[in-house]
């Protein structure tokens, strides 16, 4: 019946206004939810970065069901018109069938119109003007600004870059508000107010996204083999899953570890994983948590799990441990000693990261029901990442793979696998994990000891946008083209970097018109944090540019935004060189941020010049 109804009912277009974060997770999340609820969904517009998505769905009921789980969508609107310019928008609204508009604007209804702009603040008068431009709509009801039954939203999108808003909006939409997403859960389940948290508790929003990827439904059984403080399970329970968890760390499970909250000295009696469930009224979703070693699971051999959602330890903030001993064979004395104690606490040894994943995947192959999902984070060293590194198993198929950038060189990927069939005899242990995963920890700490220059060159290779999101696709596009200019020498701070910049300039004939007059470095390497007037001075196309104190200087020689600067400050000097100067190595950015003054102004000592090339 569900298959037929799209034929009987013409599909409607809906606009999904998404949150401007975790962009890589946005579309997979919507796909996961629509396939879980069996909602036929057709993508009309699926931009990579822009926070407005357009989909076709059968009816409003479907839209509401979809939104009942979406974490990354702010609101859903019935799309009445769209365009790249105001004229296009209005002509598109006029094409929208009147009989679909009229019931919502009828005399017995109340209405209101809101103008919402993305990346630009509009004055009230401007907004009013825009609202009045819609006067041709067949409004018959009364205006009610507080409790209107019909809320029309005029959405204007001014791009993602805060410095490029001078032109008009890129896209405009008019939509009737249908329903909001589940963003309010983020503050309700915020870790700030959670009873029991630890050093690696999962952020509320990401936990819900994980639960969505795992397609948690009421009545399903969810397990987390690295339960920790239960932060992932709480989200799954909120969506109706019944949760089991285990962990090797006895102290964490019993809330006896050192508190991680800044102000807290001791754990209180009320803290436990169960108390986290009780806090949100989810006690009935809590099954049990058990102390158990993942290398030796004590579960009966039946496929009883609908979804496994977990965040294994990466060995950075939480140790990777399993039961075992690295000592020689036991002596008889040891055995007696152990038996005499009624509570035996086995010794622990290091648990290799690839073994962690191997055991996890094998557990999934054995205990998931067919169609059940395994959702887990995989830490990767970005430079070495390759799709083949993702653990695989003949019985599991990969569904999603989304990146969350953590540092310049490290990120983690949320991997979603689905079980396609039960393993045959001898197939359980067939998990394939590459050894590279195991090196993550070493590399992570190696990278921490990089020199400033090495880090700068890495930074330019792996841009991290202001939302802290991974730009994996950008990385993919530019991977082959990018050639990092080797920044040699320059071990000494000011003179070294000065020479380096000169060196770069000499290597690039395109930059002939850029000559460095004087380049004094304050920044993180400077001994004293004072900046004098006109210290930052260089020539650009025949013009000498001087940086006034208290001013943020940003000479961007390309269209690329200064990836390394802080987004809260806009350039106060509209440099002529802000226009694009193509450079051999793609782009070159010289930026400095100066700080003079105290307290409220800018963060002390926060000026740092960057020379980056990518």
């Amino acid at each position: 019946m569900t298959a037929l109804s799209p034929l009987r009912q013409p599909a409607k277009r809906y606009l999904l206004w998404c949150a401007n974060e975790h962009i890589e997770f946005r579309i997979p999340e919507i796909n996961a939810i629509s396939s879980m609820f069996n909602i036929p969904l057709m993508w009309i517009d699926k931009p990579k970065e822009d926070p407005y998505l357009i989909v076709e769905m059968r009816n409003e009921g479907d839209a509401r069901r979809l939104m009942s789980r979406c974490m990354l969508v702010r609101s859903c609107f019935e799309l009445w018109g769209q365009g790249n310019t105001e004229e296009e928008l209005h002509s598109s609204i006029k094409l929208f069938p009147l009989d679909m508009m009229k019931p919502h604007l009828a005399p017995e209804k109340t209405f209101r119109v809101r103008v919402e702009s993305f990346n630009k603040t509009l004055k009230n008068a401007e907004k009013l003007k825009k609202i009045e431009s819609l006067s041709y709509l067949p409004f018959e009801g009364k205006v009610d600004l507080k409790h209107a039954s019909t809320c029309l939203h005029l959405l204007e999108y001014y791009g993602l870059h805060p410095n490029e808003t001078h032109r008009g909006p890129y896209k405009l939409f008019l939509g009737r508000w249908v329903v909001d997403g589940q963003r309010e859960l983020i503050s309700k389940f915020s870790l700030k107010s959670r009873t029991y948290i630890g050093s690696t508790s999962m952020d509320a929003q990401l936990s819900f996204i994980m639960a969505n990827f795992a397609q948690v439904q009421p009545g399903s059984t969810i397990v987390d083999p690295f339960v920790g403080t239960g932060s992932v399970l709480v989200a799954a329970a909120q969506f109706g899953g019944h949760a089991w968890g285990w962990d090797i760390d006895y102290l964490t499970l019993h809330a006896r570890t050192k508190p991680t909250r800044h102000s807290q000295k001791e754990r209180t009696a009320g803290e436990s994983i169960l108390s986290n469930f009780e806090q949100y009224g989810l006690k009935h979703k809590y099954l049990d948590v058990v102390v158990m070693d993942n290398a030796r699971p004590f579960w009966r051999d039946v496929p009883y799990v609908d979804a496994i959602i977990t965040d294994p330890p990466y060995g950075i903030r939480e140790a990777m441990e399993r039961v075992g001993t690295v000592k020689g064979p036991k002596t008889a004395e040891d055995t007696i000693k152990q038996q005499s104690s009624s509570h035996h606490f086995p010794s622990k040894m290091n648990y290799n990261l690839s073994d962690v994943y191997c055991d996890l995947i094998n557990f999934a192959a054995r205990h998931l029901v067919v169609g059940g999902r395994l959702v887990f984070w995989l830490p990767v060293f970005r430079e070495d990442y390759d799709e083949n590194h993702i653990p695989s198993h003949p019985c599991l198929r990969i569904v999603f793979n989304c990146e969350q950038v953590l540092t310049v060189h490290a990120s983690r990927r949320l991997i979603t696998l689905v079980k396609t069939r039960h393993p045959q005899e001898g197939e359980v242990g067939k998990c394939q994990v590459t050894d590279l995963n195991a090196k993550f920890r070493d590399k992570f700490f190696q990278a921490a000891s990089l020199t400033k220059e090495e880090r700068a060159s890495l930074k330019s290779m792996f841009p991290r946008d202001k939302r802290g999101q991974g730009l994996a696709y950008r990385l993919g596009e530019s991977k082959n083209k990018t050639k990092v200019l080797k920044m040699e020498a320059a071990s000494e701070c000011s003179s070294g970097q000065h020479n380096m910049l000169l060196d770069i300039c000499s290597k690039l004939p395109h930059l002939a018109n850029l000559s460095l007059v004087k380049f004094t470095f304050g920044g993180r390497v400077a001994m004293d944090h004072r900046v004098y007037t006109r210290q930052f001075e260089f020539k650009l196309g025949g013009r000498t540019v001087n940086a006034a104190p208290r001013h943020f200087v940003c000479a961007t020689l390309c269209s690329a935004s200064v990836g390394t600067n802080s987004g809260d400050l806009s350039p106060t000097w509209p440099l002529p060189g802000k226009k694009v100067v193509p450079v051999g190595v793609r782009t070159m950015v010289v930026a400095a941020r100066t700080k003079v003054g105290k307290g409220k102004e800018w963060k002390s000592g926060s000026y740092s010049p960057y020379i980056t090339s990518y």
């Binding site: 019944h242 009935h284 058990v290």
Partner: protein
């Protein structure tokens, strides 16, 4: 015996969890199921009844082990020796199961 060792370390456990655990991970254990229970203290908690979940879990349970466990904690009379057919519609049984599985810890 081995089972007892495992469970002494556990302070509270639901019978639902007990039904899923074995001691197979230990050396020289072949069957390791069901685990013996030496309950020192029992408590009842109130958990919202979720018929859908119980119905979904029943096929995954080992009935014999459940009856054994219920006997250990003194709830033998709540359960029939074998799982009757058509249990999906027997609300009374499902409710009793809910109590034994989730509310006794």
């Amino acid at each position: 015996m081995l089972g007892t060792i495992l469970l002494t370390a556990v302070r509270r456990m639901k019978l639902m969890t007990h039904n899923m655990l074995t001691s197979k991970g230990m050396k020289n254990v072949k069957e390791g199921f069901p685990l013996k229970i030496q309950a020192e203290e029992m408590r009842n908690v109130d958990i919202d009844y979720d018929r859908d979940f119980i119905t979904r879990m029943i096929p995954k349970l080992d009935w014999k082990a459940l009856v054994f466990a219920a006997q250990c904690v003194g709830h033998k009379e709540d359960l029939p020796d074998t799982l009757p057919e058509g249990y999906e519609n027997d609300n009374e049984l499902l409710k009793r199961l809910h109590h034994v599985l989730l509310e006794v810890i």
